[in-house]
Subunit: 229 residues, 2 copies
Protein backbone atom coordinates (compact mmCIF):
# COMPACT_ATOMS: atom_id res chain seq x y z
CA UNK A 1 0.00 0.00 0.00
CA UNK A 2 2.82 2.39 0.69
CA UNK A 3 6.56 2.39 0.86
CA UNK A 4 8.02 3.10 4.26
CA UNK A 5 11.25 4.79 3.45
CA UNK A 6 14.20 3.68 5.51
CA UNK A 7 13.88 6.33 8.14
CA UNK A 8 17.06 7.01 9.99
CA UNK A 9 16.36 8.15 13.50
CA UNK A 10 18.46 11.12 14.37
CA UNK A 11 19.45 11.44 17.98
CA UNK A 12 19.39 15.18 18.28
CA UNK A 13 16.66 15.75 20.83
CA UNK A 14 18.99 16.76 23.56
CA UNK A 15 20.51 19.56 21.54
CA UNK A 16 18.68 22.83 21.02
CA UNK A 17 19.86 24.90 23.91
CA UNK A 18 17.37 27.55 24.79
CA UNK A 19 17.11 31.25 24.35
CA UNK A 20 19.46 34.00 25.00
CA UNK A 21 17.74 36.99 26.62
CA UNK A 22 14.19 37.42 25.45
CA UNK A 23 12.39 40.73 25.04
CA UNK A 24 10.56 41.64 28.20
CA UNK A 25 7.38 42.81 26.53
CA UNK A 26 5.52 40.69 24.07
CA UNK A 27 5.60 41.87 20.52
CA UNK A 28 2.71 40.57 18.54
CA UNK A 29 5.12 39.15 16.05
CA UNK A 30 4.98 35.78 17.71
CA UNK A 31 6.75 33.90 14.97
CA UNK A 32 9.66 36.30 15.16
CA UNK A 33 9.86 35.80 18.87
CA UNK A 34 10.11 32.09 18.35
CA UNK A 35 13.02 32.72 16.06
CA UNK A 36 14.96 34.22 18.94
CA UNK A 37 14.31 31.33 21.25
CA UNK A 38 15.46 28.43 19.14
CA UNK A 39 18.44 26.83 17.57
CA UNK A 40 18.48 25.92 13.88
CA UNK A 41 19.28 22.30 13.12
CA UNK A 42 19.84 20.39 9.89
CA UNK A 43 17.92 17.20 9.12
CA UNK A 44 18.71 14.93 6.22
CA UNK A 45 16.30 13.42 3.76
CA UNK A 46 13.95 10.92 5.45
CA UNK A 47 15.43 11.56 8.85
CA UNK A 48 13.00 11.38 11.74
CA UNK A 49 12.53 14.58 13.72
CA UNK A 50 10.35 13.01 16.37
CA UNK A 51 8.25 9.88 16.75
CA UNK A 52 4.61 9.35 17.62
CA UNK A 53 4.11 9.14 21.37
CA UNK A 54 7.45 10.61 22.20
CA UNK A 55 7.47 13.34 24.82
CA UNK A 56 6.80 16.67 23.11
CA UNK A 57 9.74 18.56 24.42
CA UNK A 58 10.22 20.84 21.46
CA UNK A 59 8.30 22.90 18.96
CA UNK A 60 9.66 23.20 15.43
CA UNK A 61 9.70 25.76 12.67
CA UNK A 62 10.75 25.01 9.13
CA UNK A 63 13.51 27.33 7.92
CA UNK A 64 14.14 25.51 4.66
CA UNK A 65 13.09 22.16 3.25
CA UNK A 66 9.86 20.27 3.84
CA UNK A 67 8.53 18.08 6.63
CA UNK A 68 5.81 15.44 6.73
CA UNK A 69 3.93 14.24 9.79
CA UNK A 70 2.29 10.82 9.69
CA UNK A 71 0.90 7.82 11.48
CA UNK A 72 1.23 4.20 10.51
CA UNK A 73 -1.53 1.68 11.15
CA UNK A 74 -0.88 -1.85 12.38
CA UNK A 75 -0.92 -3.29 8.90
CA UNK A 76 1.48 -0.73 7.50
CA UNK A 77 -0.90 1.76 5.91
CA UNK A 78 0.56 5.20 6.34
CA UNK A 79 -1.45 8.39 6.60
CA UNK A 80 0.33 11.69 6.20
CA UNK A 81 -1.22 14.31 8.43
CA UNK A 82 0.36 17.38 6.92
CA UNK A 83 3.23 18.82 4.94
CA UNK A 84 5.14 21.73 6.46
CA UNK A 85 6.89 24.25 4.25
CA UNK A 86 9.34 27.03 5.15
CA UNK A 87 7.80 29.35 7.72
CA UNK A 88 5.41 26.70 9.06
CA UNK A 89 5.48 25.69 12.69
CA UNK A 90 4.81 22.08 13.67
CA UNK A 91 5.03 19.69 16.58
CA UNK A 92 3.18 21.97 18.98
CA UNK A 93 1.20 19.84 21.41
CA UNK A 94 -0.89 20.73 24.41
CA UNK A 95 -0.50 17.30 25.94
CA UNK A 96 2.85 15.76 26.73
CA UNK A 97 3.26 13.59 23.66
CA UNK A 98 3.48 14.02 19.94
CA UNK A 99 0.45 12.53 18.26
CA UNK A 100 2.19 12.04 14.92
CA UNK A 101 5.69 11.24 13.79
CA UNK A 102 7.64 13.81 11.81
CA UNK A 103 10.32 13.41 9.15
CA UNK A 104 12.22 15.71 6.85
CA UNK A 105 11.25 14.97 3.26
CA UNK A 106 14.33 16.62 1.84
CA UNK A 107 17.44 18.09 3.40
CA UNK A 108 15.93 20.68 5.77
CA UNK A 109 16.88 23.31 8.30
CA UNK A 110 14.58 23.30 11.29
CA UNK A 111 14.41 25.74 14.14
CA UNK A 112 14.01 23.88 17.41
CA UNK A 113 12.43 25.60 20.41
CA UNK A 114 11.87 24.27 23.90
CA UNK A 115 8.16 23.92 24.45
CA UNK A 116 8.51 24.68 28.14
CA UNK A 117 10.00 28.05 27.25
CA UNK A 118 7.00 28.91 25.13
CA UNK A 119 4.51 27.66 27.65
CA UNK A 120 6.04 29.52 30.54
CA UNK A 121 6.23 32.63 28.41
CA UNK A 122 2.54 32.15 27.66
CA UNK A 123 1.80 32.03 31.37
CA UNK A 124 3.24 35.51 31.75
CA UNK A 125 2.10 36.93 28.47
CA UNK A 126 -1.51 36.79 27.31
CA UNK A 127 -0.57 37.64 23.80
CA UNK A 128 1.70 34.63 23.53
CA UNK A 129 -0.97 32.44 25.10
CA UNK A 130 -3.41 33.60 22.48
CA UNK A 131 -0.93 32.89 19.72
CA UNK A 132 -0.42 29.35 20.91
CA UNK A 133 -4.16 28.87 20.93
CA UNK A 134 -4.44 30.39 17.46
CA UNK A 135 -1.80 28.04 16.14
CA UNK A 136 -3.59 24.99 17.43
CA UNK A 137 -6.81 26.32 15.94
CA UNK A 138 -5.03 26.68 12.62
CA UNK A 139 -4.00 23.06 12.77
CA UNK A 140 -7.57 22.14 13.56
CA UNK A 141 -8.78 23.94 10.47
CA UNK A 142 -6.24 22.16 8.34
CA UNK A 143 -7.31 18.83 9.76
CA UNK A 144 -10.93 19.64 9.02
CA UNK A 145 -10.15 20.55 5.43
CA UNK A 146 -8.22 17.32 5.21
CA UNK A 147 -11.32 15.45 6.30
CA UNK A 148 -13.32 17.16 3.59
CA UNK A 149 -10.69 16.12 1.05
CA UNK A 150 -10.87 12.49 2.08
CA UNK A 151 -14.53 12.08 1.22
CA UNK A 152 -14.06 13.27 -2.34
CA UNK A 153 -13.22 11.50 -5.60
CA UNK A 154 -9.64 11.01 -6.73
CA UNK A 155 -9.82 13.91 -9.17
CA UNK A 156 -11.21 16.22 -6.55
CA UNK A 157 -8.56 15.20 -4.02
CA UNK A 158 -5.70 15.75 -6.41
CA UNK A 159 -7.12 19.05 -7.64
CA UNK A 160 -7.61 20.17 -4.06
CA UNK A 161 -4.09 19.17 -3.18
CA UNK A 162 -2.59 21.08 -6.08
CA UNK A 163 -4.59 24.19 -5.26
CA UNK A 164 -3.55 23.96 -1.63
CA UNK A 165 0.10 23.62 -2.54
CA UNK A 166 -0.12 26.44 -5.08
CA UNK A 167 -1.65 28.72 -2.51
CA UNK A 168 1.07 27.97 -0.01
CA UNK A 169 3.98 28.10 -2.42
CA UNK A 170 4.64 31.76 -3.10
CA UNK A 171 1.36 32.03 -5.01
CA UNK A 172 2.80 31.25 -8.43
CA UNK A 173 0.64 29.20 -10.74
CA UNK A 174 3.51 26.79 -10.87
CA UNK A 175 4.08 24.36 -8.05
CA UNK A 176 7.31 22.66 -7.18
CA UNK A 177 6.44 19.53 -5.27
CA UNK A 178 9.06 18.57 -2.72
CA UNK A 179 7.38 15.22 -2.02
CA UNK A 180 7.12 11.95 -3.89
CA UNK A 181 4.01 10.43 -5.44
CA UNK A 182 3.95 8.05 -2.49
CA UNK A 183 3.80 10.97 -0.07
CA UNK A 184 1.00 12.59 -2.04
CA UNK A 185 -0.88 9.30 -2.18
CA UNK A 186 -0.55 8.77 1.55
CA UNK A 187 -1.75 12.30 2.19
CA UNK A 188 -4.78 11.91 -0.07
CA UNK A 189 -5.68 8.36 0.91
CA UNK A 190 -5.02 7.05 -2.60
CA UNK A 191 -2.40 4.86 -4.26
CA UNK A 192 0.54 6.15 -6.26
CA UNK A 193 -0.99 4.64 -9.39
CA UNK A 194 -4.21 6.57 -8.93
CA UNK A 195 -2.34 9.79 -8.23
CA UNK A 196 -0.27 9.29 -11.34
CA UNK A 197 -3.25 8.44 -13.53
CA UNK A 198 -5.22 11.37 -12.17
CA UNK A 199 -2.40 13.76 -12.94
CA UNK A 200 -2.26 12.53 -16.53
CA UNK A 201 -6.05 12.90 -16.80
CA UNK A 202 -5.78 16.47 -15.59
CA UNK A 203 -2.98 17.04 -18.03
CA UNK A 204 -5.03 15.60 -20.89
CA UNK A 205 -7.93 17.82 -19.99
CA UNK A 206 -5.55 20.78 -20.12
CA UNK A 207 -6.11 21.68 -16.47
CA UNK A 208 -2.43 21.29 -15.68
CA UNK A 209 0.91 20.64 -17.31
CA UNK A 210 3.58 18.37 -15.86
CA UNK A 211 6.92 19.38 -17.36
CA UNK A 212 8.79 17.22 -14.88
CA UNK A 213 7.27 14.87 -12.35
CA UNK A 214 7.96 17.23 -9.46
CA UNK A 215 6.80 20.37 -11.21
CA UNK A 216 3.14 21.12 -11.95
CA UNK A 217 1.84 24.08 -13.90
CA UNK A 218 -1.71 25.12 -13.10
CA UNK A 219 -3.00 25.86 -16.53
CA UNK A 220 -6.69 26.21 -15.75
CA UNK A 221 -7.27 27.12 -12.17
CA UNK A 222 -11.01 27.52 -12.67
CA UNK A 223 -11.32 23.92 -13.82
CA UNK A 224 -9.38 22.76 -10.78
CA UNK A 225 -11.53 24.84 -8.46
CA UNK A 226 -14.64 23.41 -10.03
CA UNK A 227 -13.32 19.95 -9.24
CA UNK A 228 -12.48 21.09 -5.75
CA UNK A 229 -16.25 21.22 -5.16
Amino acid sequence: MQSQPTTQTSSHRQAARTARSLPKLASNAFANQIDLMGAPMPFGRNVEIYGENEPAEYVYKVISGTVRTYKVLNDGRRQIGAFYLPGDIFGLEVGDEHSFSAEAIVESKILVVKRSALVSLAARDNEVARQLWTMTAGELQRAQSHIMLLIKTAQERVAGFLLEMAQRSAAASEVDLPMSRQDIADYLGLTIETVSRTLTQLENSAAIAVPTSRRIVLRNRAALSRLNA
Copy 2:
Protein backbone atom coordinates in the same frame (compact mmCIF):
# COMPACT_ATOMS: atom_id res chain seq x y z
CA MET B 1 -25.74 10.30 -1.33
CA GLN B 2 -27.35 11.71 1.77
CA SER B 3 -30.68 13.01 2.90
CA GLN B 4 -30.69 16.60 4.05
CA PRO B 5 -33.37 16.63 6.69
CA THR B 6 -35.67 19.62 6.59
CA THR B 7 -33.69 21.76 8.97
CA GLN B 8 -35.74 24.44 10.61
CA THR B 9 -33.62 27.42 11.42
CA SER B 10 -34.32 28.63 14.91
CA SER B 11 -33.92 32.31 15.49
CA HIS B 12 -32.65 32.23 19.05
CA ARG B 13 -29.20 33.75 18.68
CA GLN B 14 -30.04 36.95 20.34
CA ALA B 15 -31.15 35.24 23.54
CA ALA B 16 -28.61 33.87 26.01
CA ARG B 17 -28.11 36.69 28.40
CA THR B 18 -24.76 36.55 30.03
CA ALA B 19 -23.47 35.68 33.43
CA ARG B 20 -24.45 36.74 36.82
CA SER B 21 -21.46 37.39 39.09
CA LEU B 22 -18.59 35.07 38.41
CA PRO B 23 -16.09 33.79 40.94
CA LYS B 24 -13.10 36.13 41.17
CA LEU B 25 -10.47 33.45 41.24
CA ALA B 26 -10.31 30.73 38.64
CA SER B 27 -11.20 27.29 39.80
CA ASN B 28 -9.68 24.66 37.58
CA ALA B 29 -13.15 23.26 37.08
CA PHE B 30 -13.50 25.16 33.85
CA ALA B 31 -16.56 23.30 32.65
CA ASN B 32 -18.35 24.13 35.88
CA GLN B 33 -17.50 27.77 35.46
CA ILE B 34 -19.04 27.74 32.05
CA ASP B 35 -22.18 26.39 33.61
CA LEU B 36 -22.50 29.58 35.63
CA MET B 37 -22.08 31.85 32.66
CA GLY B 38 -24.68 30.50 30.31
CA ALA B 39 -28.36 30.11 29.75
CA PRO B 40 -29.86 26.72 28.98
CA MET B 41 -31.95 26.61 25.81
CA PRO B 42 -34.07 23.91 24.20
CA PHE B 43 -33.58 22.91 20.56
CA GLY B 44 -35.94 20.63 18.68
CA ARG B 45 -35.04 17.70 16.47
CA ASN B 46 -33.18 18.86 13.33
CA VAL B 47 -33.20 22.48 14.40
CA GLU B 48 -30.13 24.45 13.41
CA ILE B 49 -28.08 25.87 16.27
CA TYR B 50 -25.76 27.86 14.06
CA GLY B 51 -24.71 27.87 10.44
CA GLU B 52 -21.36 27.62 8.75
CA ASN B 53 -19.72 31.03 8.36
CA GLU B 54 -22.02 32.70 10.84
CA PRO B 55 -20.32 34.90 13.42
CA ALA B 56 -19.25 32.75 16.33
CA GLU B 57 -20.89 34.72 19.08
CA TYR B 58 -21.58 31.84 21.42
CA VAL B 59 -20.04 28.68 22.76
CA TYR B 60 -22.30 25.74 23.50
CA LYS B 61 -22.46 22.89 25.94
CA VAL B 62 -24.77 19.92 25.62
CA ILE B 63 -26.91 19.41 28.71
CA SER B 64 -29.09 16.71 27.21
CA GLY B 65 -29.66 15.38 23.73
CA THR B 66 -27.14 15.14 20.87
CA VAL B 67 -25.74 17.57 18.35
CA ARG B 68 -24.08 17.08 14.96
CA THR B 69 -21.78 19.52 13.19
CA TYR B 70 -21.43 19.26 9.43
CA LYS B 71 -20.52 20.81 6.13
CA VAL B 72 -22.26 20.36 2.81
CA LEU B 73 -20.37 20.35 -0.48
CA ASN B 74 -21.64 22.05 -3.62
CA ASP B 75 -23.17 18.90 -4.97
CA GLY B 76 -24.99 18.04 -1.75
CA ARG B 77 -22.62 15.58 -0.16
CA ARG B 78 -22.71 16.10 3.57
CA GLN B 79 -19.82 15.41 5.94
CA ILE B 80 -20.51 15.25 9.64
CA GLY B 81 -17.59 16.62 11.61
CA ALA B 82 -18.56 15.38 15.03
CA PHE B 83 -21.32 14.25 17.35
CA TYR B 84 -21.62 15.99 20.71
CA LEU B 85 -23.15 14.20 23.67
CA PRO B 86 -24.17 15.54 27.08
CA GLY B 87 -21.25 17.25 28.76
CA ASP B 88 -19.51 18.05 25.48
CA ILE B 89 -18.68 21.61 24.51
CA PHE B 90 -18.88 22.68 20.88
CA GLY B 91 -18.89 25.73 18.66
CA LEU B 92 -15.75 27.21 20.20
CA GLU B 93 -13.83 29.09 17.54
CA VAL B 94 -10.72 31.19 17.69
CA GLY B 95 -11.62 33.10 14.58
CA ASP B 96 -14.83 35.04 14.19
CA GLU B 97 -16.87 32.49 12.29
CA HIS B 98 -18.14 29.00 12.78
CA SER B 99 -16.44 26.62 10.41
CA PHE B 100 -19.24 24.05 10.53
CA SER B 101 -22.98 24.15 10.91
CA ALA B 102 -24.59 22.62 13.99
CA GLU B 103 -27.97 20.97 14.50
CA ALA B 104 -29.69 19.17 17.31
CA ILE B 105 -30.21 15.55 16.31
CA VAL B 106 -32.92 14.99 18.90
CA GLU B 107 -34.74 17.27 21.29
CA SER B 108 -31.82 18.78 23.21
CA LYS B 109 -31.02 21.22 25.99
CA ILE B 110 -28.00 23.32 25.22
CA LEU B 111 -26.19 25.74 27.46
CA VAL B 112 -25.35 28.90 25.54
CA VAL B 113 -22.42 31.05 26.63
CA LYS B 114 -21.20 34.31 25.17
CA ARG B 115 -17.81 33.72 23.64
CA SER B 116 -16.69 37.25 24.46
CA ALA B 117 -17.27 36.53 28.12
CA LEU B 118 -15.02 33.50 27.98
CA VAL B 119 -12.35 35.24 25.97
CA SER B 120 -12.22 38.24 28.23
CA LEU B 121 -12.12 35.96 31.24
CA ALA B 122 -9.21 34.17 29.59
CA ALA B 123 -7.38 37.46 29.19
CA ARG B 124 -7.49 37.91 32.97
CA ASP B 125 -7.07 34.31 33.96
CA ASN B 126 -4.26 32.14 32.64
CA GLU B 127 -5.97 29.02 33.79
CA VAL B 128 -9.02 29.76 31.68
CA ALA B 129 -6.81 30.64 28.74
CA ARG B 130 -5.12 27.30 29.07
CA GLN B 131 -8.45 25.51 29.21
CA LEU B 132 -9.62 27.14 26.01
CA TRP B 133 -6.42 26.06 24.34
CA THR B 134 -6.81 22.55 25.70
CA MET B 135 -10.34 22.35 24.36
CA THR B 136 -9.26 23.32 20.88
CA ALA B 137 -6.44 20.80 21.09
CA GLY B 138 -9.01 18.16 22.05
CA GLU B 139 -11.01 18.99 18.94
CA LEU B 140 -7.83 18.72 16.92
CA GLN B 141 -7.20 15.24 18.26
CA ARG B 142 -10.72 14.19 17.39
CA ALA B 143 -10.34 15.54 13.88
CA GLN B 144 -7.09 13.64 13.51
CA SER B 145 -8.67 10.37 14.63
CA HIS B 146 -11.47 11.10 12.20
CA ILE B 147 -8.91 11.37 9.41
CA MET B 148 -7.50 8.00 10.41
CA LEU B 149 -11.00 6.53 10.29
CA LEU B 150 -11.62 7.80 6.80
CA ILE B 151 -8.75 5.89 5.24
CA LYS B 152 -9.98 2.55 6.55
CA THR B 153 -12.33 -0.09 5.16
CA ALA B 154 -16.05 0.01 5.86
CA GLN B 155 -15.80 -2.66 8.57
CA GLU B 156 -12.99 -0.84 10.27
CA ARG B 157 -14.83 2.46 10.17
CA VAL B 158 -18.01 1.05 11.62
CA ALA B 159 -16.12 -0.89 14.29
CA GLY B 160 -14.18 2.22 15.17
CA PHE B 161 -17.32 4.27 15.36
CA LEU B 162 -19.03 1.79 17.67
CA LEU B 163 -16.02 1.64 19.95
CA GLU B 164 -15.83 5.41 20.06
CA MET B 165 -19.49 5.71 20.92
CA ALA B 166 -19.26 2.98 23.52
CA GLN B 167 -16.35 4.69 25.18
CA ARG B 168 -18.19 7.98 25.34
CA SER B 169 -21.57 6.60 26.40
CA ALA B 170 -21.28 5.80 30.05
CA ALA B 171 -18.87 2.98 29.24
CA ALA B 172 -21.49 0.24 29.04
CA SER B 173 -20.95 -2.43 26.41
CA GLU B 174 -24.29 -1.43 25.07
CA VAL B 175 -24.62 1.68 22.94
CA ASP B 176 -27.75 3.68 22.40
CA LEU B 177 -27.29 5.54 19.15
CA PRO B 178 -29.10 8.87 19.05
CA MET B 179 -28.38 9.33 15.34
CA SER B 180 -29.79 7.80 12.18
CA ARG B 181 -27.99 5.55 9.73
CA GLN B 182 -27.72 8.54 7.44
CA ASP B 183 -25.89 10.49 10.13
CA ILE B 184 -23.54 7.59 10.77
CA ALA B 185 -22.93 7.20 7.05
CA ASP B 186 -22.16 10.89 6.63
CA TYR B 187 -19.80 10.76 9.57
CA LEU B 188 -17.94 7.72 8.24
CA GLY B 189 -17.91 8.72 4.59
CA LEU B 190 -20.05 5.73 3.59
CA THR B 191 -23.62 5.20 2.36
CA ILE B 192 -26.50 4.08 4.56
CA GLU B 193 -26.61 0.81 2.65
CA THR B 194 -22.98 0.08 3.42
CA VAL B 195 -23.43 1.00 7.07
CA SER B 196 -26.45 -1.26 7.29
CA ARG B 197 -24.77 -4.17 5.53
CA THR B 198 -21.66 -3.78 7.65
CA LEU B 199 -23.69 -3.88 10.84
CA THR B 200 -25.37 -7.10 9.74
CA GLN B 201 -21.98 -8.58 8.85
CA LEU B 202 -20.71 -7.70 12.30
CA GLU B 203 -23.84 -9.21 13.77
CA ASN B 204 -23.40 -12.39 11.75
CA SER B 205 -19.82 -12.67 12.92
CA ALA B 206 -21.08 -12.36 16.50
CA ALA B 207 -19.11 -9.20 17.15
CA ILE B 208 -22.26 -7.25 17.97
CA ALA B 209 -25.99 -7.67 18.45
CA VAL B 210 -28.59 -5.24 17.16
CA PRO B 211 -31.76 -5.72 19.22
CA THR B 212 -33.27 -2.56 17.77
CA SER B 213 -31.80 -0.41 15.04
CA ARG B 214 -30.74 2.29 17.49
CA ARG B 215 -29.31 -0.07 20.07
CA ILE B 216 -26.07 -1.97 19.60
CA VAL B 217 -24.63 -4.53 21.98
CA LEU B 218 -20.88 -4.98 21.81
CA ARG B 219 -20.62 -8.72 22.12
CA ASN B 220 -16.97 -9.15 21.25
CA ARG B 221 -15.00 -6.04 21.89
CA ALA B 222 -11.70 -7.74 21.08
CA ALA B 223 -12.91 -8.55 17.58
CA LEU B 224 -14.00 -4.96 17.10
CA SER B 225 -10.69 -3.63 18.35
CA ARG B 226 -8.87 -5.94 16.00
CA LEU B 227 -10.85 -4.43 13.15
CA ASN B 228 -10.08 -0.98 14.50
CA ALA B 229 -6.48 -1.62 13.36
